[in-house]
Symmetry: none
DNA sequence: AATGAATGAGCCTTCATTCAT
DNA sequence: AATGAATGAAGGCTCATTCAT
């Protein structure tokens, strides 16, 4: 009697294992043996469900993006004003789950890999575009188009920048939270450029 | 007397080849065969001059950092005011040589690897620290300590953030230059917090 | 259910192949390719089952020692008197399986390597100690302690000496068997020093 | 102005370096780099004077044998009786220089290697033969031919056996010197088989 | 559904050897 | 006489992937 419906269970377990492995290693060059081991299955099974390592990694990245997207959409629904929407985007980017050292490492790893793998690149682009359009549409309601585009770009860069800097700062207490600095920037921008 | 003085020539050629290989591949997992091939020598020679792959990569990163540091120091000497010093740091960060796709890719790759390799981490830390202290001392002359620290942190994050975002933007023209956005941020900060 | 139970089969085949390779080459610096080839498998499989070359070699030596120990214990059980026990130790040392050119060469190779490898040294020590204590306890029942120790030492040296000399004598017929000479020594000793 | 007469000096220095390297390493698989380094010259020079590694090793072994032979011949001239000649052979075999751990290791290494290299084999054979004929001719004057051959064989085996056992015994004090045990054997033999 | 078995390809590294100077 | 420069060949080891069960 074959077990039924194992596919989604195994796929999910393997993706979680991949995140764990990548986070622990700090880069994408993890072995299938490591991933399968963390999932408690054989490497053969991982290949059975994903075909190849690349596809497992792509699925893993897709999973991360989907998680982030889900959280973002949910929080955005509770945001009433454009200003709140901006804060929501920033807050979600640095929400606990997304800012643990492991996840930071995983994100960086995917960024790097995305330069080469067209699949990962496409996935990452979707995220980048969504982030940017969320910020842009919110800013666009608060200031002229030109300024809005610039502000959206800047906030997106700040988010990524704090991410990457976090990766190097181990244990050093950071007096200013990334969120506070970004919020401060947004406020300054609004104070100067806001539509009357 | 044998042929002499090849050591510095070969070392330099191999480092250039390593940058080229890493840039092309988009990550640090390049092969010695690839690097040596680009330098036009055998892998054995690469080992002869660097001992091991890790050392070649470390030397490569050190070279990049040294180049950046050299250019920074030179340009800073021509900067008369604190405000100019800030602009210089920003400008050097995005100066042509430092912002080519290849070098961006190489920097990202080193960032990721630095999370694991103590050697690379140490090298990168020096750079991070120098960057930050340059920005901080300049800002500190223009605004209260607290604000200066925050501003320095933000500018550093913006620089890194634009770097990393650049890695995904292939060919897409960027209407706003990173430099312009950062300069705008600095101006806004100064307008608000500047010492009287 | 996959194909099962190959592990012991492969391990044994690889150990036999290692003995064969070492014997043929006359020293421990055999290649994994050679060993794996003789076993009819890929080098990757050899690594799969033994982890590294050193471990395969250690396992091989352990196997030789275990074989010798097994035969020795079995034969000793049939020996009723101390004098017979001595003869048994001598005989087993030169029993056919243990004295083929290949095995002699393998033993010598291990002797040499044991000077450097702590693992092999430890294994060899066990054998040396067992051999000596067997001889010593038998001699101790036949003569005073002092003489017994000396005799045991001498017989052990004779065994090793004939071993090593055999390695150089290729094809030359040896008029006196090693066993006969050693037995003669034992008899002479007993005639002189035996307890009344 | 080329230096004149460097050949013998360099050859000797390289041979000494080879002995040193082999002794330190405990086996013949030393690198030319190691040997040349100990001699304070480049590997290229070692090749210049010896052509190939094998030839340097052969020359090294030949040097050891020549040394041994020289000492043996000198000491034998002072030996008046056959009995003394036997003692001399034994004594020389274990004379300080010949029984240091390093030299023991070197000898063993050559023994092993001799199984493969025809050149080394030939050299070693000469030594073996000379040793045996020295012992045999001395014994032949003291006992019947049959017994003499057997005794010579036994003493040669004892010498080699103590050699090889010494290689494993590190630091353990040995209550009975090898020489004493062998002398005791010779005396016992003579007591039993001596010509009237 | 799941896995032990097995391998080909590739990588880093070492080393004896050659050559031009 | 001497050596820095350079390499081809080979070895140990890893790993993604396939297959039979």
């Amino acid at each position: 009697m074959p077990k039924l419906g194992m596919q989604p269970i195994r796929r999910r377990a393997l993706i979680d294992a991949a995140i764990s492995a990548i986070g622990a290693r700090g880069s994408l060059d993890v072995t299938m043996t490591d991933i399968a081991g963390r999932a408690g299955v054989s490497t053969a099974l991982a290949h059975h469900y994903f075909g190849a390592k690349d596809e497992l990694l792509a699925a893993t990245m897709w999973h991360l993006l989907a998680d982030l997207g889900l959280e973002l959409r949910r929080k955005l629904q509770a945001a009433d004003s454009p200003r709140e929407r901006i804060s929501t985007v920033v807050a979600v980017s640095f929400s606990v789950g997304q800012f643990s050292p492991e996840v930071v490492a995983t994100w960086l790893a995917f960024y790097v890999e995305a330069q080469r793998s067209p699949t990962l690149r496409r996935l990452l682009r979707i995220y980048v575009h969504r982030m940017r359009s969320n910020l842009l549409s919110a800013f666009a309601r608060l200031m002229p188009r030109q300024d809005a585009e610039q502000a959206a770009e800047a906030v997106a860069a700040l988010i990524d920048g704090f991410y990457i800097r976090r990766a190097l700062r181990d244990g050093l207490p950071n007096p200013f939270s990334a969120v506070a600095i970004i919020e401060d920037y947004v406020d300054a921008k609004l104070a100067t450029k806001a539509l009357s």
